[in-house]
């Protein structure tokens, strides 16, 4: 479904991605783990076309992503919940969610989707009139995920969705991911919660200083010596 081939990228003079090869098949949950600054977020930014690669090809369901603008990528169904939440600070919770269904294909399901995410995150329903910018860190994270779901994504890119969430919620976030995956949404997940994310992943990649160093099924990587040492601190 998504295929990244020999992706290279630099921020100015600083090269951060080296020949990344990555594939996501329809229906999968694929996890990318890697230490700080490995280039996980940068990879997602390349997929969403927030930045332009130096070289390499990115295709989604046959469409060449490098020819598209960010918003066109979203229209194809590739939706990112970015690191650092990036919610609209001066819009209310509801308005933020409405923006989630801006693209045509999602507009029809707006009301149903709002209902769905409110059920998922009751706190949002409680605060539906609060301005996004005044929500707490974790509340904003919920809003960001909810807003991403409003888009009816085919492929959902999640950049550290559990960041800043309380333990109870972390658990339910991973359950939610599995659940929406079961409903047919493909997921590319970047996580620091390595244990949980590898557990739910079909396949996973390990990124180190901008290179893919390891790949395999979630199970395999969980059992991998290197992964256990470098990421699980065991």
């Amino acid at each position: 479904m998504l295929k990244i081939d020999k992706l290279n990228f630099s921020y100015g003079d600083l090269k951060v991605l080296w020949d990344i090869d990555l594939e996501v098949h329809a229906g999968e949950i694929v996890t990318v783990v890697g230490s700080n600054g490995a280039g996980k977020s940068t990879t997602l930014k390349n997929i969403s076309r927030l930045v332009r690669p130096t070289s390499g090809t990115l295709t989604f369901g046959g469409a060449d992503l490098t020819r598209l603008e960010s918003h066109e990528v979203v229209e194809l169904g590739v939706v990112q919940v970015p690191e650092g939440r990036k919610i609209f600070p001066e819009m209310t919770v509801t308005e933020n969610l409405r923006m989630g269904s801006f693209i045509k294909s999602a507009r029809g399901d707006r009301e149903a989707n709002i209902e769905r995410v409110f059920t998922l995150f009751p706190r949002l329903r409680e605060r539906h009139k609060q301005l996004g910018g005044t929500m707490s860190g974790g509340e904003q994270q919920m809003l960001a995920i909810a807003r991403g779901l409003m888009t009816n994504p085919k492929l959902l890119l999640l950049d550290e969705p559990s960041l800043g969430l309380a333990p109870l919620l972390v658990k339910s976030i991973f359950e939610t991911i599995t659940e929406i995956n079961r409903q047919g949404v493909t997921v590319l997940l970047v996580e620091q919660n390595v244990y949980q994310s590898l557990r739910i992943a079909h396949r996973a990649y390990v990124l180190e200083t901008g290179r893919v160093v390891l790949t395999g099924t979630g199970e395999e990587l969980l059992g991998n010596e290197h992964v256990r040492k470098a990421f699980l601190g065991m």
Binding site: S48, L50, E69, S70, H71, V74, E75, V79, Q80, P82, K86, I87, F88, P89, E90, M91, E95, R98, M99, G100, F102, I103, R107, R147, T151
Partner: protein, 288 residues
């Protein structure tokens, strides 16, 4: 008493035109976070357009609003597309400077085309007035006031109630997030700058039957527009409307009760006071 009511009336009417200028700026600022120093120059182009249509084709200035809106929209949209869009995300001081440069280009190009002469657009109603219980109400200003009111209402509905309007606001608050929602931010920026320019141009058209036209006319209005938008709360349409009328009334009241020389000082002092006690402006919290 008559003098008081008279100056209140003049203040409100001229405030209506100010409001239109302010709204245009507020939208541009709201979306691009760009302080548009060329706003008055865009207004000036609107004036010349109206003048041109009037003197060559004999089109009434108020009717020419119908032409002015699309033409100025296109003008603003193109400016955005070719210049300002390249600057988005750049340092704020660079954006300020870019608009200053664009303003210089606009006023000096017009000067080359039309010379620096003052142009006066005289219509049959330019100094027409209606007597309302001893208070004279300027006909052209009254018409402008109603046009302004209509445009403002339409715009408010557009920004608050339609998806595209909301997308414009979203772009203002976080461009990257907006992109991730499938919003074409280049397009919303073009739209916003276009609307802002159309409003400035319309204000120019509305004011031209009662005012005069020359290439440097813009700078005075740029300043006024700043004061209005900040006073009302940046990004707030209701605020800009309120700001415009407050400025209009303050000016005319202080001209009568203090002196013409000090009236603008009073406006700026008022402006600073509002900022001090309510830094986000009068309508700063109620968004748009």
């Amino acid at each position: 008493m008559i003098v008081f009511l008279q100056s209140l009336m003049s203040g409100v009417l001229i405030g209506g035109v100010y409001a239109l200028i302010g709204i245009g700026l507020t939208i541009i600022f709201g979306v691009m976070r760009v302080i548009n120093f060329a706003h008055g120059d865009i207004l000036m182009i609107g004036m010349y357009l109206t003048y041109f249509l009037f003197s060559v084709f004999g089109i009434d200035p108020f009717l020419s609003v119908a032409i002015c809106i699309p033409v100025m929209f296109a003008f603003g949209a193109l400016t955005q597309k070719f210049f300002i869009n390249r600057m988005l995300g750049a340092l704020p001081q660079n954006q300020i400077l870019l608009t200053i440069g664009l303003g210089l280009i606009m006023s000096n190009t017009i000067m080359l085309l039309f010379t620096s002469d003052y142009k006066i657009l005289t219509t049959s109603y330019s100094s027409g007035s209606v007597d309302l219980a001893g208070i004279s109400v300027s006909q052209p200003l009254a018409i402008s006031f109603f046009i302004t009111a209509a445009i403002t209402a339409a715009l408010y509905w557009f920004l608050m109630k339609t998806d595209i309007g909301q997308a414009i606001r979203a772009t203002a608050q976080d461009r990257e997030a907006a992109q991730l929602m499938g919003i074409n931010v280049r397009w919303t920026s073009i739209l916003a700058f276009g609307i802002g320019s159309a409003l400035a141009g319309t204000a120019g058209a509305l004011i031209s039957p009662t005012y005069y036209i020359f290439p440097q006319v813009g700078s005075a209005f740029t300043l006024k527009a700043f004061v209005i938008t900040v006073l009302g709360g940046m990004g707030s349409i209701v605020g800009a409307t309120l700001g415009g009328i407050i400025i209009g009334v303050t000016e005319s009241m202080s001209a009568v009760y203090i002196s013409s020389g000090w009236k603008e000082v009073v406006v700026y002092v008022l402006f600073l006071l509002v900022l001090l006690f309510k830094p986000s402006g009068l309508m700063g919290t109620s968004r748009m």
